[in-house]
Amino acid sequence: MSLENPNAIEVREAVKRYGDFTALKTISLSIKDNEFFTLLGPSGCGKTTLLRMIAGFEDVTEGAIYLYDEEIAGLPPHKRPVNTVFQNYALFPHKTVLDNVAFGLQMRGNSKADSRKRAGEMLELVQLSQFAGRKPSQLSGGQQQRVALARALAPQPKVLLLDEPLSALDLKLRKAMQLELKHLQRETGITFIFVTHDQEEALTMSDRIAVMSSGELQQLGDAREIYESPRNMFVADFIGETNLLGVSVDRVEAGQAVCHLGGGHALTCAAVEDVAAGSDVHLSVRPERLFLTPEAESADGMKATVRENIFVGTDITTLVDLADGPQFTIRTSNSERGNKRIFEPGTPVFVNMEHGAARLLVD
C-alpha cells in the first residue's frame, strides 16, 4: 500500500472460527518482501491455522489476506503462488524423489522433460542429485526434509511456508538445518514464513517474530526486542527463562517507575504506557542479568539467602530466597573469565540487578 515494495503478505483483521470455537481472534500483520518471518507459539495458539489460511487449506471466516497487494483469501490452494514445506514433509510415497520435485512444475503446465530438468537442478542445490531415482522412504529424515524443501522451492513460489519442518529431526541435524534454511532464504530471496513452537529456533533464524497465544498476536518484533523487551507476561514467560515478580507501583516520575516487592524491597525501572501509581503489575528480570555479591554494592541490592546451586553445563543456576520476599533464579556463566562467584547454600548474599534489566509488563 506504500510506494516502496509492497508487503509479501498482509493479513487484515482475519478471524477463523470452527463452529463455536474461535481459533484466531482478529489478527492483522504484515510480512515484508524478502523477510524470514516466524510465527511462534505453543501448540493450539493458532499459528498453524494462520499458515494454512495463507496456503489456502483453511478459509478465512472474516477479514482478508493479500499476497503482494492481491487478495487471495478466496483462491483455492492450487491457484496461490505460495508453496508449503509440510511438517511430516508429505512426500508422495509412490513417486521418486525427482518426480516429487518435478510435480509442482508439471502441474503448472511445464512439459515433463522440462520439469524433470529443473527438478534435477533443484536437487543439485540441496545436494541430493544422487538420490533422484529413489523413493522417499529410502531416504533419511534429513534427506527427506531437503527433498521437501526442493519440491516446495522448485516452482519458484512468491512465499514459502514452512510448518514446523525441523521438528522431526534430531538436535544436531536441526541446528545444521536452521543455518542452511537461513542461507537458502538469503540466496533465493524468497519470503519465508516459518511456524515453530521452539523459541530458540525462532530467535536463531528470524528477521522478525510474531509471538502468538490463544489465537491472538502477543508481540511482533525482531529477536532482540522480543527477548529483551517482552510486552506482556505471556511473551516474557514463553521466550527464554525469566523471574516474574508481582510488584506494586509506588510512583511514576520522569519515565521511571518506582515499585516495591513483597518484603519491602524497592526497585526502579523504565515505566511503560498506562502504568499508574498504586497499581499492581508484573515485572520481568532475566536470570543472567542478576548477580550476587557478598556485600551490598548499591542501595538497590536485596538481601537474600542462597538455597541451591544447579550445574547446567554452560551456566550455573542459583536459587536464592529473598528475605521475606519471593525466590529468584540467577544465572552465572560457567567461565573463569567472567566474575564467577559461587556461594554455598545457606550463605547470606545480596542480589543485584544490571542497569535496565527490570522490565514492566502489560498484563
Binding site: 477463523k16 470452527y18 470455537f21 481459533a23 501448540s43 493450539g44 495458539c45 493458532g46 499459528k47 498453524t48 491455522t49 494454512r52 487449506f57 483453511e58 511438517q87
Partner: protein
C-alpha cells in the same frame, strides 16, 4: 491444530466435501434400489394374500403371520391354538447356531490367543492360515464336510480301520453334523476379532496380576478376558448371526429332519408349491431377530466406548 479435523491426516477429512453427494450417488442408487427397497417390499409382501402358483394377490392379509403363530385346524375354523411347528424350527435354528457359536468360542479363543502371542513375523502366517478357508467357496466347504462325515466316508473308514468302532458312526443328517458344519463355516469369524483384541491387550497387566500373586488361569479369567471381551462378543455375533439364517449347512448336512429357518424360507419360493407371503413373513421375523441382536450389540458397544472415554 486446534479446531478439529484439519491437520494430522487420519480419520475423516473434508478434501472432497463439495463432491460428496455425487460420489455417494451411485452407492445410494444401487443399494437403495437393490437392497433397501426390496427389503421394504418384502415387508409389504408379508402382509399380502398368497397366490397358489407362487406370487401374491395385492390384498392386505395377516394370514402369513397367523399361519406362523397359530393353528386353526384343517379348515381354519377351529379355535386358534399356538402353532408349534414353525416356532420349533426357529427355536432349533437358535439352538443350533448357539451350539455352533459355543463350539467356535471353545476352539477359537485359545487359537486366537495363541496366534496373538506369537512373535510378530509368525503371526502373519498363522492369521493367513486361518483366513484361507474363509476365501474358499462355502458350498465347496460344506460339500467337503458332507463327504467327510458320510457313513462310508474317510472319517468312518479311519475309525473302523483303527478298530475304535465296529460299524460306522452315523453322523450325516444329524443335528451334530449341522453344528459341526456351522462351526466349520464360520470359525474364522470367531478367531479374527478375538485375535485383534488380544493383540492390542497390554501384557503388562498380566505381569502386574502375576506380581500380585494371581496364577495364570486366574489372570486369564479376571484380567485378560475382561480386556478382550469386545473381541469375544464381536466374534460370537459374527458366528451366531450367519449361522441363524444359514441354508447350506442344514440343507446338505442336516437332511429333511433337521430343518432350520433358511430351509423353511427357501421352500416357500421353490417352484409353484410355495407361499410367498409366508416366506416373506418368516424372513421378516428372522430379520427382526438379527436386527435386535445387532442393536443390543451396538448399544453395549457405544456404552463401553463411552466408559473407555
Amino acid at each position: 491444530m486446534a479446531g478439529g479435523a484439519t491437520s494430522g491426516g487420519s480419520a475423516v477429512t473434508d478434501t472432497y466435501k463439495e463432491a460428496r453427494n455425487w460420489l455417494l450417488l451411485p452407492a445410494w442408487i444401487t443399494l437403495g434400489f437393490l437392497v433397501l427397497a426390496p427389503v421394504l417390499l418384502m415387508l409389504v409382501y408379508s402382509f399380502l394374500t398368497k397366490e397358489f402358483r407362487g406370487g401374491v394377490i395385492w390384498e392386505f392379509s395377516l394370514a402369513a403371520y397367523d399361519q406362523f403363530f397359530f393353528d386353526r385346524g384343517l379348515f381354519g375354523d377351529d379355535p386358534a391354538q399356538i402353532e408349534w411347528t414353525y416356532i420349533a424350527i426357529f427355536w432349533r435354528s437358535i439352538w443350533q447356531a448357539g451350539v455352533a457359536t459355543l463350539l467356535s468360542l471353545a476352539i477359537g479363543f485359545p487359537t486366537a490367543y495363541f496366534i496373538a502371542t506369537r512373535p510378530e513375523k509368525q503371526r502373519v502366517i498363522w492369521v493367513f492360515l486361518i483366513t484361507i478357508p474363509y476365501w474358499v467357496n462355502l458350498l465347496i466347504r460344506t460339500v467337503s464336510m458332507r463327504f467327510l462325515l458320510r457313513d462310508e466316508g474317510p472319517l468312518n473308514s479311519f475309525f473302523m480301520a483303527t478298530g475304535l468302532v465296529d460299524g460306522p458312526i452315523h453322523m450325516i443328517n444329524t443335528n451334530f453334523a449341522v453344528q459341526v458344519g456351522l462351526f466349520y463355516s464360520y470359525l474364522p469369524f470367531m478367531v479374527l476379532p478375538i485375535y485383534a483384541a488380544v493383540e492390542r491387550y497390554n501384557f503388562t497387566l498380566s505381569e502386574a496380576a502375576a506380581d500380585l500373586y494371581a496364577n495364570k488361569w486366574i489372570t486369564l479369567r479376571h484380567i485378560v478376558l475382561p480386556a478382550v471381551k469386545p473381541g469375544v462378543v464381536a466374534g460370537c455375533i459374527l458366528v451366531f448371526v450367519p449361522s441363524l439364517g444359514s441354508f447350506l449347512a442344514p440343507d446338505l448336512l442336516g437332511g429333511a429332519k433337521n430343518f432350520m429357518i433358511g430351509s423353511l424360507i427357501e421352500e416357500q419360493f421353490k417352484g409353484n408349491a410355495g407361499n410367498w407371503p409366508f416366506g416373506a413373513a418368516a424372513s421378516m421375523i428372522l430379520l427382526t431377530m438379527v436386527l435386535i441382536i445387532l442393536v443390543i450389540y451396538a448399544r453395549a458397544q457405544a456404552r463401553s466406548d463411552k466408559e473407555a472415554g
